[in-house]
């Protein structure tokens, strides 16, 4: 029964072809350092799922943001667990993505023909940091408020257009409800959409070009 259903679907969707191309592709002899990309992808999906769960109760408004998180932590079953995973997963994702970048650099995996994979990877790293920066404001506690005040002020030190950048980031001259709403929007829509799209491009190239082998003595 299952085999029949699968065959019917496979004939139309080419599931076996996808499986063979994506998972059964030829790879050189690799080691544990080559698992960091998969770990990054897993963490992105984990952050996505826990983030969607948190959005059930979180309210991006200065009146309710802090209280809604208190409610998640103390009023909702397993809220502490889901927020905890999202909180620690965020730090872990920055760490893993960064080590993934270091591995690519030290193993020379960014070289021809994978330069463009490297470029999308750099964008993904920057977007991951952006997710960390925008997510940090959302609890709307003292630490979040002042971290964002300092962070946007640093952006404001850019010559000539710094003040303008600062105003755009904050949505005005001071941190306000507008800042919280736009950080929330960027955190849950803009950056995740960009990251998902870039991961698609990144993985397409990984599959198309294959992964580079470990550098040898003569390299």
């Amino acid at each position: 029964m299952f085999q029949k259903t699968f065959n019917w679907l496979d004939e139309r969707l080419g599931l076996n072809t996808i499986y063979n191309t994506v998972l059964d592709r030829k790879v050189p002899k690799v080691n544990w350092w080559f698992t960091l990309g998969s770990a990054s992808l897993f963490l992105f999906l984990l952050q996505g799922i826990t983030g969607i769960m948190l959005s059930v109760y979180y309210v991006p408004s200065p009146d309710h943001a802090y209280d809604s998180i208190q409610y998640i932590m103390t009023g909702v079953s397993f809220g502490w667990l889901i927020r905890g995973i999202h909180h620690w997963g965020a730090s872990l994702m920055v760490l893993i993505v960064f080590i993934h970048m270091l591995r690519t650099y030290y193993f020379g995996a960014y070289k021809y023909p994978r330069e463009f994979t490297w470029v999308t990877g750099v964008l993904l790293l920057l977007l991951t940091l952006g997710m960390g920066f925008t997510g940090y404001l959302l609890p709307w506690n003292q630490r979040a408020y002042w971290a964002t005040t300092v962070g946007t002020s640093i952006a404001g030190t850019v010559p000539f257009i710094g003040n303008f950048i600062n105003m755009v980031l904050r949505g005005g001259s001071d941190l306000s409800a507008v800042t919280l709403a736009r950080f929330f929007s960027v955190h849950i829509w803009w950056f995740p959409a960009l990251i998902a799209g870039l991961i698609g491009v990144h993985l397409y190239m990984v599959i198309r070009l294959g992964i580079s082998s470990l550098p040898k003595e003569e390299d």
């Binding site: 769960m53 059930v56 109760y57 309210v59 309710h64 209280d67 809604s68 208190q70 409610y71 009023g75 909702v76 079953s77 397993f78 809220g79 667990l81 889901i82």
Partner: protein
């Protein structure tokens, strides 16, 4: 190779994989479902006895308005609602407490001492001193509250809405 009377390696692996998958699914799924349905399982009990001060403050036979506030908590939101109760002590020592909320469309009724009626300003509903319908569009008499007296102090039984 002769067929072994025991289960094959493939069967064993399938069973173990299914069992492990079920356990992992439960570990992930139960917290997720609990998280989503929590608000439906929480019962908010708003029942309380509201202290309305000394009975001596309320003149016999004259409805006196007593106001109080109740805070309702829904998740992260606190709503303060105010309620009004007419306290009418009777000659025999019993005390009637009537909500001032008109039973028609919930406007607040006022005591008119000249008519000896509660009059609703919205659609001119008239209630008698004990809350009974006199005239107007209201479907039922004014809602009474349960009362009790402890050491000369009046309490009103508030049933959460």
């Amino acid at each position: 190779m002769a067929r072994s009377p025991h289960m094959s390696r493939q069967e064993f692996v399938s069973i173990v994989a299914a069992a492990a998958g079920t356990i992992m699914g439960a570990i992930i799924g139960i917290p997720a479902i609990g998280y989503l349905i929590t608000p439906a399982l929480q019962k908010i009990s708003a029942d309380a006895w509201i202290a309305a001060g000394s009975v001596a403050n309320y003149p016999v036979g004259i409805p006196t308005l007593f106001n109080f506030n109740r805070t309702k908590v829904n998740g992260w939101e606190k709503t303060v609602n105010s309620y009004g109760v007419f306290i009418i002590p009777h000659e025999d020592g019993s005390i009637l407490a009537l909500s001032n909320k008109c039973t028609h469309l919930s406007c607040r009724v006022n005591w008119d001492p000249e008519l000896s009626d509660y009059v609703c300003p919205c659609h001119n509903a008239h209630f008698g001193i004990d809350g009974q319908i006199i005239s107007g569009p209201q479907p039922r008499p004014l809602d009474p509250y349960e009362t009790k007296i402890e050491e000369g102090n009046l309490f009103i039984h508030f049933i959460g809405s």
